[in-house]
Amino acid sequence: MLSPEKTLDTYYLEARRDLLEVAAMLDRYDEAVKRVGSKADDESKKNSLLDAMKILAESDHPAANRTEQLLIHFAKIS
């Protein structure tokens, strides 16, 4: 099992990359809206991602179950 410090050191850069991909995907959506001149008729997928990030942004998760919470959250989107 990894120590707290080793956990951050090992996975920080990969998590950074994954967050950048999410940021880029949202930028891509905004650029598409700008180009086309209108939003998607159904923005629930985008809103679901933004809500998921609110869950992640809570600093304390005593049960260490962020993944489980996100899976339940994403299950609301078909």
Binding site: L13, E14, R17, L20, E21, A24, M25, D27, R28, E31
Partner: protein, 273 residues
């Protein structure tokens, strides 16, 4: 589709790379001088390294029908040894005359120290003196924005031709300043630490593609030469034409590198019957 890998550290890779690249359409790779993973102590080590990338490596690539070109420089990570840097610079003109050497690179900044800045200036001065192309490395991760700004400030104080300078490893926070200053910009696609294939296509769609180069990552660390093909697939799946892809992944390298007459691969046009 014919593809050019503008930034590829072949000596750190196996022949399997060449074989797979050839099968995927790569027709040429360009190998900038790189850090060896440890600080070299002797100028002679660089000289042997330059001989390896300018004499031996083209023969290894040719086994797979791939053209191999190189660049020579002292990597910024080794600029903290000014005596070594000066001695290598003194011997570099011999290699600039090699038939496959395209210019001076990769020089640039790593931690943006004064020694690195002095080395960058000396490399650029040498390149301008011998009318060579220049490939400039910008720092990784947290140092990138500051290091890129410093590179631009250093170049602004020198008598340079921006057409002949390629500033590499740009990302979303640095590309605009590089293009606005008139230089060529390169994106380097890494599995984790730099730009990604999808983000590279976002950047291609957002900015003019006239002075943009796309590189894969291919060195002795975690890297993947096929991130370039991933970028091409992403570009095409978004509806861009084959010719538009050719312009970016083949013709742009030809336009920049073709400023050196040793580069004889010409831009191509896909004809439709």
């Amino acid at each position: 589709m014919q593809i050019i890998q503008p930034h590829y550290h072949a000596i750190a890779r196996t022949a399997q790379d060449y074989e797979r690249m050839a099968m995927s359409g790569v027709v040429a790779v360009c190998e900038p001088a790189f850090w060896a993973g440890f600080d070299r102590r002797h100028p002679e080590t660089f000289i042997d390294y330059f001989a390896q990338i300018s004499e031996f490596e083209p023969t290894r690539a040719a086994e797979f029908g791939i053209r191999h070109y190189c660049w020579v420089a002292v990597n910024p990570k080794e600029a903290e040894n000014p005596e070594l840097t000066q001695e290598v610079l003194r011997q570099m003109p011999e290699f600039l005359e090699k038939p496959t050497c395209l210019g001076v690179g990769e020089t640039g900044l790593h931690k943006s120290t004064q020694n690195e800045i002095d080395s960058l200036q000396a490399h650029v001065e040498l390149a301008m003196k011998y009318d060579q192309l220049v490939l400039i490395h910008t720092p990784h991760l947290a140092d990138k924005a500051h290091g890129t700004k410093t590179v631009l400030e250093v170049l602004a104080g020198m008598d340079v031709n921006p057409d002949k300078i390629w500033i590499d490893h740009v990302e979303e926070q640095t590309i605009k300043s590089v293009l606005d200053a008139g230089y060529w910009a390169g994106m380097t696609l890494y599995p984790v630490t730099k730009c990604s294939p999808r983000r590279s296509v976002d950047i291609l769609e957002k900015y003019s593609t006239e002075r943009l180069l796309v590189n894969s990552s291919a060195d002795w660390g975690p890297s993947d030469p096929f991130t370039l093909q991933e970028s091409i697939v992403e570009f095409r799946r978004r509806g861009h034409s084959l010719q538009e892809a050719v312009e970016i992944y083949h013709n742009n390298p030809c336009r920049f590198l073709g400023q050196n007459p040793k580069w004889d691969i010409k831009p191509i046009t896909i004809s439709e019957e």
